[in-house]
Amino acid sequence: MTWYRDTARRDRFMSQLGFRPPASVSGQSITELLKEMAAAGVVRAIMTGRFSQTFGSVSNEDLIAITKEYPNHFLGVASVDPTDRTRAIQQIQHAVAAGLKAVTIEPGSYPTPMYADDRRLYPIYAHCDEMSIPVFIMNGGNAGPDLSYSSPIPLDRVLAEFPHLKVVVTHGGWPWVNEILHLAFRRPNLFVSPDMYLVNMPGMDDYIRAANGFLADRFLYASSYPLCPVKDYADWFLALPIKPASMEKVVFRNAVELLDLRV
């Protein structure tokens, strides 16, 4: 995928956030990453698959293989081919049977860019809704060809039209911080994971205030590794002014409950 092929771009993103590539990234070493996770206190990491032209693809088979090789470290979230509904549902069934925990939808970075409320995604959402499978939607950051792909409006429609579907907005809907927090206030099925876009970026204080308030049960910790080093990100995050009770939920409990993990 892009983040290991276009290393200059990755390192530019990382340095914009104020981090330097750790040994695991510069050396592309899983052994180093496991050490860094241990040092950071990260007991489980959620790997999201990818089906994209822009960012490269990571197959569900690869995710399944990694979870089998490192069952005490990694969990996987399956990607789908959104242009073929029947195949997408087969992919989900296969992935869930193999132990993957959720489905990731990255509408703006598909080979045919889509918005989160694209009609072709609706049978896929309906399937996840019926099977109680959480869905991660990349609806923030560089989600698609332009800023409209991180707009909260399409996401709001999905949340309203599938009120029982649990949706994690990866990249936290950033930069539409006020707006995504309004959605979270209005739609109890939305979980917010600002990940890399929390790091000293505009809106940070508002995310944290929400995590300390109404969003305590629906805020999720994530490093976006390899765009942030897991250790440095964790050190930074744990020093944030998040109340201890909220912090415990944000860094652990919320994810365990959402994905029904046995950790």
Binding site: R85, D117, D118, R119, L121, Y122, P123, R157, E161
Partner: protein, 282 residues
């Protein structure tokens, strides 16, 4: 004329059908009937099912596809009533349920119930829902997916005056549905009129589209193009429908039978195409 005829769009004056706008507002209906150049059928004016059955016999219509209605704008009645009408007049009617699909789970419940009543086909009139939708509205996609997976053909009202403005008949919407669900059989009621050239292009491109121009064929612009398409590549996907009570079945059929369709094509249009879509055993 010894040819069996299936009328693909007919709303008899009985039971719940009387609660839809066609019978609640006869003056509007009669205005449309007269604009086409017909006089209202006696059965429609008198709301007499017995007269209608007589008129169907005179027209040579063997079977009427009675299409339910479940819309805020044009009225609604229960699919159970549609099924009951078909049961009460055995051999005369094929019931098609109508689904209000604003809420996916409720729509699925309606479909499951209607299938249990023996219905094999459904009608969607999204432009007339309380919250009008285009044919390719995202909220309809799980319904289309279900119908495609279960080989259930659908009728969509994508022509005539199905919604608040002309965008509700724009053929780009049905084109997307046909492309996204290539194994779903879709009947465009009202033939997607007035976008005649465009819908014939869509039909040329998408083999899962059937056209039923029904009342909008009657001396209206585009008529010659519909007929030419039916005589050519669309002979297997063109359907006969009177849209009764808007058109009187007898006069419409008499007129239709004189249209310049090739004899082999006429037979398909009047019966075989419909029988195939409806999965009739004959």
């Amino acid at each position: 004329m010894d040819m069996k005829i299936i009328d693909f769009r007919l709303r008899p004056p009985v039971s719940g059908f009387l609660n839809a706008r066609h019978y609640m507002k006869p003056e509007t209906r009669d205005r449309n009937t007269r604009m086409l150049g017909f006089e209202p059928a006696p059965s429609a004016s008198k709301k007499s099912i017995d007269l209608l059955l007589q008129e169907m016999d005179e027209a040579g219509i063997t079977l009427g596809v009675i299409v339910g209605r479940n819309t805020a704008a044009l009225g609604s009645f229960r699919n159970a009533e549609v099924a009951e009408v078909a049961r009460s007049y055995p051999g005369r009617f094929v019931p098609v349920g109508s689904i209000e699909a604003s809420d996916r789970k409720d729509a699925m419940r309606q479909i499951t119930e209607a299938r249990a009543m023996g219905m094999k086909m459904f009608n969607l009139e999204p432009g007339a829902f309380a919250w009008p939708m285009h044919i390719d509205d995202r909220r309809l996609y799980p319904i289309y997916a279900y119908c495609e997976d279960n080989a259930i053909p659908v009728i969509v009202m994508s022509g005539g005056a199905p919604g608040p403005d002309i965008s509700y008949t724009a053929p780009v919407h049905i084109d997307r549905v046909l492309a996204d669900f290539p194994d779903l059989t879709v009947v465009a009621s009202h033939g997607n009129w007035p976008w005649v050239q465009e819908i014939i292009h869509v039909a040329y491109r998408r083999p899962n589209l059937y056209l039923s121009p029904d009342m909008y064929l009657y001396n209206l612009p585009g008529m010659d193009d519909y007929i030419r398409a039916a005589n050519g590549f669309m002979s297997d996907r063109f359907l006969f429908g009177t849209a009764y009570p808007v058109c009187p079945v007898k006069e419409y059929t008499t007129w239709f039978l004189k249209l310049p369709f090739k004899p082999a094509v006429m037979e398909r249009i009047l019966y075989h195409n419909a029988a195939r879509v409806l999965q009739l055993s004959t």
